[in-house]
C-alpha cells in the first residue's frame, strides 16, 4: 500500500514545486518608484496637488530634473528592435492588443522581476506554463514571428534584431 503512494506523492510534490512554488522563487516583487493612475490621468492631465505620489513626483523628479526610473513591464533585450510606429500607425494595432488593460488601470501593478534573466514576468506571461489566451501576455519571439506570419510579413532576422 505504502509503496504505491510514495512515487505518486513524489510526483505530486514535484508538480507542486514546478508549477506553484517555482514562480515564487523565480520572481522578485519590485514596486514602481511612484504610483500613477491611468484612469485619473484621462481627465486630470494637470496635477491636482492632492496625492502623495504627486508630491513625490515634483520633489524627487521634476525639481531636480531627473528621469523617473519606471520599471517597464514590456522591456525587451538589447538585441531586439521594437518600434511602435510600424505596429500602431501602419499595422493599426490597438494598445490593448499588447498592453491589455494597462491604459485604464487605477494603480500600477507590482513589477515582477525574473531573478535570472532580469526581465519582467510579463515577457513570459503570468502563467509559468507560458500558455495564455490573452493577446497581451507573453512577449517572446515566437509571438512576434507568429503575428508577422499571420499578417503576411516575411522579414529577415535583422529586420527585428539589432
Amino acid at each position: 500500500m505504502k509503496s504505491k503512494i510514495i512515487v505518486p506523492s513524489g510526483i505530486l510534490f514535484g508538480l507542486f514545486l514546478g508549477w506553484y512554488a517555482f514562480p515564487f522563487a523565480l520572481y522578485k516583487n519590485n514596486e514602481q518608484p511612484m504610483q500613477f493612475s491611468h484612469q485619473c490621468a484621462e481627465c486630470h492631465a494637470a496635477p491636482l496637488g492632492e496625492s502623495e505620489s504627486e508630491k513625490l513626483l515634483v520633489e524627487t523628479y521634476i525639481t531636480p530634473n531627473k528621469e523617473i526610473p519606471w520599471l517597464v513591464y514590456s522591456r525587451q533585450p538589447d538585441n531586439a528592435f521594437f518600434s511602435h510606429a510600424p505596429h500602431v500607425t501602419l499595422g493599426e494595432m490597438k494598445c490593448e492588443n499588447c498592453h491589455g488593460g494597462h491604459g485604464t488601470s487605477e494603480a500600477l501593478r507590482t513589477y515582477q522581476e525574473n531573478r535570472i534573466s532580469g526581465y519582467s514576468r510579463d515577457i513570459w506571461g503570468a502563467s509559468i506554463s507560458g500558455i495564455s489566451s490573452n493577446t497581451w501576455e507573453g512577449m517572446k519571439m515566437d509571438r512576434c514571428v507568429r503575428c508577422h506570419g499571420d499578417n503576411g510579413r516575411r522579414d529577415g532576422c535583422v529586420a527585428c534584431h539589432k
Binding site: 538589447d78 538585441n79 510600424p86 501602419l90 529577415g156 532576422c157 529586420a159 539589432k162
Partner: protein, 261 residues
C-alpha cells in the same frame, strides 16, 4: 516560398554598393566609422589582423612595378552580400544567417550563433569575424555605445549587415509618417556617410535611375571572385587595368612578394 499579398505589395529592394577604388586614398575613416557605428570593441592586446574584428577591412594592393613606377590601391573588403548560393547562409547549422527577402541584405544574428565558424570557412572573402574575447570598453565608452546596435558576446561570429541599425531608424521614421517606404536619404551606412572622397555609392540596385544601379553596370565596374557565381551585391570600380586583374586573383600578390624578397 509562398509570397502573401502583403509582401507582394511591398517594394522589393536590393541594396548594394559600388566602391570607386580610384577615389579611395586609404584614409581609414570608413573602418573607424564602421566600428563606432556597430559597437565593435577596441582591439584586445593579443588581437591581430587574423583574429581581430574589423568588419570593414582595408587591404593594400600594388602593381608591383619598380619604384617610382609603382602604384598602390586600397580595397575595402566587408560582407559582399552574396545573392546566390550565399555560402555562409547555406552552411549555418543554426539558421543564424538569412537573406531578407525585402531588402536583399544577408543578415547575421550573432545571438543565435553557436560559434562553430563554419560560415567563416565558407566565406570566400574572409569577411566574417569571430569574437575570440569578451568585448571590452572603458566605463565611459560603454555609455557612448550606439543604442541601435546590440554588442556581441565572446564566442559568436559577426559581419557587416549594411548598418541595420540605420535601416531600423529609417523604417521607424517612415512608419511614423505613415509610409511603408523609407526615404533613401535616411538610410546611408556609416562608411558611405563618412567617406571624404565619396568613393562609395550605396542604393537600391533594382531601382534603375539610382546612381548605384547605374554605376554597377558601368564597364569599369567589377566584382571580386565573380567566377564563383555567388552574385555579390558589392561592386568595385576602377579604370586601372591592373586593379581589375586583382578581381580573380587571391594569392598572386603575396607570391610575388616572396619572389622579390
Amino acid at each position: 516560398m509562398e509570397t502573401t499579398t502583403e509582401n507582394k505589395s511591398l517594394k522589393k529592394y536590393k541594396y548594394g554598393m559600388v566602391i570607386d577604388l580610384d577615389k579611395c586614398n586609404g584614409c581609414g575613416v570608413c573602418s573607424i566609422a564602421c566600428a563606432v557605428e556597430n559597437n565593435v570593441p577596441p582591439a584586445q592586446a593579443k588581437a591581430n589582423k587574423r583574429n581581430g574584428i574589423s568588419l570593414l577591412n582595408m587591404h593594400t594592393v600594388s602593381n608591383n612595378e619598380q619604384f617610382p613606377k609603382n602604384e598602390s590601391a586600397f580595397i575595402p573588403i566587408f560582407c559582399q552580400q552574396c545573392e546566390q548560393e550565399t555560402p555562409c547562409m547555406t552552411v549555418c547549422p543554426q539558421n543564424a544567417v538569412d537573406i531578407d527577402p525585402t531588402t536583399g541584405i544577408v543578415g547575421q544574428v550573432p545571438q543565435r550563433c553557436l560559434g562553430c565558424r563554419y560560415c567563416m570557412t565558407a566565406c570566400p572573402y574572409h569577411a566574417r569575424y569571430f569574437n575570440w574575447w569578451d568585448p571590452e570598453w572603458t566605463e565611459g565608452m560603454k555609455q557612448q555605445l550606439n543604442p541601435d546596435v546590440a554588442p556581441r558576446m565572446r564566442g559568436v561570429v559577426e559581419k557587416c549587415n549594411f548598418c541595420h541599425g540605420r535601416l531600423h531608424a529609417a523604417k521607424q521614421k517612415a512608419a511614423a509618417n505613415g509610409s511603408r517606404e523609407i526615404d533613401t536619404a535616411d538610410y546611408i551606412p556609416a562608411c558611405v556617410e563618412s567617406c571624404p572622397n565619396k568613393a562609395i555609392t550605396f542604393g537600391d540596385l533594382n531601382d534603375e535611375p539610382t546612381e548605384a544601379a547605374q554605376l554597377s553596370k558601368n564597364k569599369d565596374t567589377f566584382r571580386f571572385l565573380s567566377r564563383l557565381g555567388t552574385e555579390p551585391k558589392v561592386y568595385y570600380h576602377s579604370e586601372k587595368k591592373w586593379v581589375h586583374e586583382m578581381a580573380e586573383k587571391s594569392l598572386t600578390r603575396s607570391l610575388q612578394e616572396e619572389i622579390h624578397g
